[in-house]
Amino acid sequence: MLGLALAALLVLAGPAAADIWSPESGGSPNADKIDTLYKITLFVAIPIFLLVEGTLIWSLVKYRVRRGGQAEQIRGNQPLELGWTVGAAVILVILTVVTFAFLKTITDPERSGPQIADGAQVASIDQPDPPGGGGIRIGVNGQQYLWRYDYGSKNDLFSYNEMVVPTDTTVSLDISSSDVQHSWWIPKLGGKADAVPGHVNETWFKISKPGRYEGQCAELCGANHADMHAVVRAVPPDEFERWARRQRADIKAAREELATTRRAREAEVGR
């Protein structure tokens, strides 16, 4: 039955879903490591699954009631029962060891690429380097129903919904919320991090291929939860610098324009 469902799925899903049996990956090393860890767990589980379903189906087929047949009155078997209890425990101990072996590579940000040593090309961002050195730190703030990204604390460079980042650079995120709970998630760039009011959550990614990486809020946050999309656009470092300059200038211009209109209106009201 499951095989049938799976086959139907393969046919119907087609090439659109190349990755139907494991989480998304390929954007950032931590996502790749999670993918590998998942696959190890799955490969440990598959034989257990086959064993259980196999013996179950075998028993149901083989031991159907038969004329004159006798059911064996077995009440238990201590060595066998002890065996499968210990066996299950041992498998879980192995999984634990594997998980801890992978943990650091998933949680701890990698160093940025060699060409970006000492954060040279991101000197314009006044944030301390993330551990490992040579990266940038971006504040992510969830609000019903958009994402705001703050580059540095001067409030002169920020954007909404689309986050632009340089490639080959470790990007560390400080995730917060200013209303209800949200959850930051770009599947190809690694796991989720909840945005909880009153807390700052952390995650990171490092993108080597320029491109758009899409995701959306993963914690129910209200009527338009489904529309709270997020995009990370990775561009080469020099292009990032150009974008930052332009964005900064746009923000400044917009502020000045706002100030001018306000002054004009105040003058109008005053008159």
Binding site: D19, P23, L60, V65
Partner: protein, 565 residues
């Protein structure tokens, strides 16, 4: 001395004939304190809620059948998501198990009623009150914050309408109902077992109802406190979950899941108990490893109280805490695995009668093992960072709660219906219902693993075209309607058989436990003579004694009728 006397008196048998007619009419149902009538009312009420919750699920699946569908808007969808979850958990699975417990605990332990019959009636009517208060919110504003009602979304600033208050009402009323019911079960099981029924001879269903009750008593106060704090946050100016007032939204999550995870085991353990009764009866074998199954029930319950923060792996929490909850969640897989192995070993080398109850009972381990494996994957917390709050989790929880609990409940329904009504359900319709449900269930939920891993979060009312989610969702919607048809076939089967089914006799399956030692349906006082229990399968002993005494076996139990299947 007593044993000698019993032997002299001959084998125990039914000596109950011609009882006075019970008062009839609706008033008799309103005032009844008979555990069987209360149990039956529990079953009727909870199955109505089950149908309502199922219809809500089908409407949601219709909305998700195609990308960017406009059948529902976000608000309506969130209402349906919230009401579906709350209905299925608080108004179906937990109370339907209380319903089976009410009906069968006294019968299986050889008692004439529950310890506190009036408290029992109160439990039921509080449940009805909770359900009515909750569903009344349809007429003003249903809750939209999910069954978990996470603060601050559920706080007055973001959910001003009365829906959340209706939810709080429901939590308190059904919580009180479950708590009183649990105390009643504990008192009954501890004190009213038939002579000779020591702990090691107690039916496994009774073990699970006992542990279910203790878990309810341990877990419910946490959500009662949390819901009260939310109530005062919403209306009386406190700020337990409000950052501006020095509160913390994570406090809600801890309190909620301290209840919420034991709740999962509350919902599954009695279903485990049911199939631990059903599998040996239909395999004509004793249960394999009785002690291990009873002990693993206790172990699951204990560990179940220590795993709650595995629902919070993506919150800002130290890794050492996450690691602890990963380990405790792993640990719980061991006793659960032991149960599954024991059930399969029970079938091994049996003489399996392929009747409908067995179909549903054997499907439970087959489906639950998938939920168990996805549970292990989710317990690996770095992997959970990808899976959390996606359709992978939706698939996981439905494999556990539908594949596990609901298939178990259907097994129980088909197994015990002849006892409750005196009539047999149609085997043909029963098997048809099973296969349609089984296929529909797997179509609906198996593909959702993939949808989640491809980036579909749960609780979204729409998804964009071209994101690779169309096929998964269409398959899922088709499957859900099949599942609905499968359930409908059982409903039709029950309605047809309750009056027109073939007479079942006292013991159509050759059961192992004492409920088969009385008439079907059982008379108000259950038993005239309560037999002395000498093993974990008292009915087997009784049948043997009757045969030895040279009496026709119909005196206690009718032979399995052949023909329809």
């Amino acid at each position: 001395m007593e044993a000698t006397k019993a032997r002299l008196a001959g084998a125990p048998e039914i000596a109950m004939h011609g009882l006075e007619e019970q008062p009839r009419g609706w008033l008799s149902w309103l005032t009844t304190t008979d555990h069987k009538r209360i149990g039956a009312m529990y079953l009727y009420a909870t199955f109505i809620w089950f149908i309502l919750g199922g219809v809500m699920a089908l409407i949601m699946r219709l909305q998700l059948a195609t990308p960017d569908n406009t059948l529902l808007n976000g608000e309506t969808y969130n209402s349906l998501v919230s009401m579906h979850g709350v209905t299925m958990i608080f108004l179906f699975i937990v109370p339907v198990l209380a319903g089976f417990g009410n009906y069968f605990v006294p019968l299986m332990i050889g008692a004439r009623d529950m310890a506190f019959p009036r408290l029992n009636a109160l439990s039921f009517w509080l449940l009805v009150g909770g359900g009515v208060a909750f569903f009344a919110s349809i007429f003003f504003e249903p809750p939209q914050a999910g069954w978990t009602s996470y603060a601050p979304l559920s706080d007055d600033a973001y959910s001003a309408g009365g829906g959340i208050d209706a939810w709080i009402f429901l939590v308190h009323l059904t919580g009180l109902s479950s708590l009183l019911g649990a105390i009643n079960f504990v008192a009954t099981i501890h004190n009213m077992r038939a002579p000779g029924m020591s702990w090691g001879r107690m039916p496994l269903f009774i073990w699970t109802i006992l542990i279910y009750s203790y878990l309810l008593i341990a877990a419910l106060p946490a959500i009662a406190a949390a819901a009260t704090m939310l109530l005062t946050d919403r209306h009386f100016g406190t700020g337990f979950f409000n950052v501006a007032d020095g509160g913390d939204p994570l406090l809600w999550q801890h309190l909620f899941w301290f209840f919420g995870h034991p709740e999962v085991y509350i919902m599954i353990l009695p279903a485990f108990g049911m199939i631990s009764e059903i599998l040996p009866v239909f395999a004509r074998k004793p249960i394999f490893g009785y002690k291990a199954i009873a002990a693993s029930t206790v172990a699951i319950a204990f560990l179940g109280l220590l795993v709650w923060a595995h629902h919070m792996f993506t919150t800002p929490t130290a890794n050492v805490v996450l690691a602890f909850f990963m380990l405790s969640s792993f640990a719980i897989a061991v006793p659960t695995g032991v149960k599954i192995f024991n059930w399969i070993a029970t079938l091994w080398r049996g003489q399996i009668m392929l009747k409908t109850p067995l179909y549903f009972a054997a499907a439970l381990p087959a489906l639950f093992v998938i939920g168990g494996i996805s549970g292990i994957i989710l317990a690996v917390f770095p992997v959970d960072w990808q899976m959390h709050d996606t359709y992978f989790v939706v698939a996981h929880l439905h494999y556990v709660l539908f594949g596990g609990s609901v298939f178990g409940i259907f097994a129980g329904l088909y197994y015990w219906f002849p006892k409750m009504s005196g009539r047999l359900l149609s085997e043909r319709l029963g098997k048809l219902s099973f296969w349609v449900m089984f296929v529909g269930f797997n179509l609906t939920f198996f593909v959702q693993h993939s949808a989640g891993m491809s980036g579909m979060p749960r609780r979204v009312y729409r998804y964009p075209d071209g994101a690779g989610l169309e096929a998964y969702n269409l398959i899922s919607t088709i499957g859900s309607f099949l599942l609905g048809i499968g359930v409908l076939i059982t409903v039709i089967n029950v309605i047809r058989s309750v009056k027109g089914g073939r007479r079942a006799g006292n013991d159509p399956w050759k059961g192992n436990t004492l409920e088969w030692f009385t008439q079907s349906p059982p008379p108000p006082n259950n038993f005239d003579v309560i037999p002395r229990v000498r093993s974990v399968e008292p009915m087997k002993d009784i049948r043997r004694e009757v045969q030895k005494a040279g009496k026709a076996s119909e005196t206690v139990a009718q032979p399995v009728t052949s023909g329809t299947s």
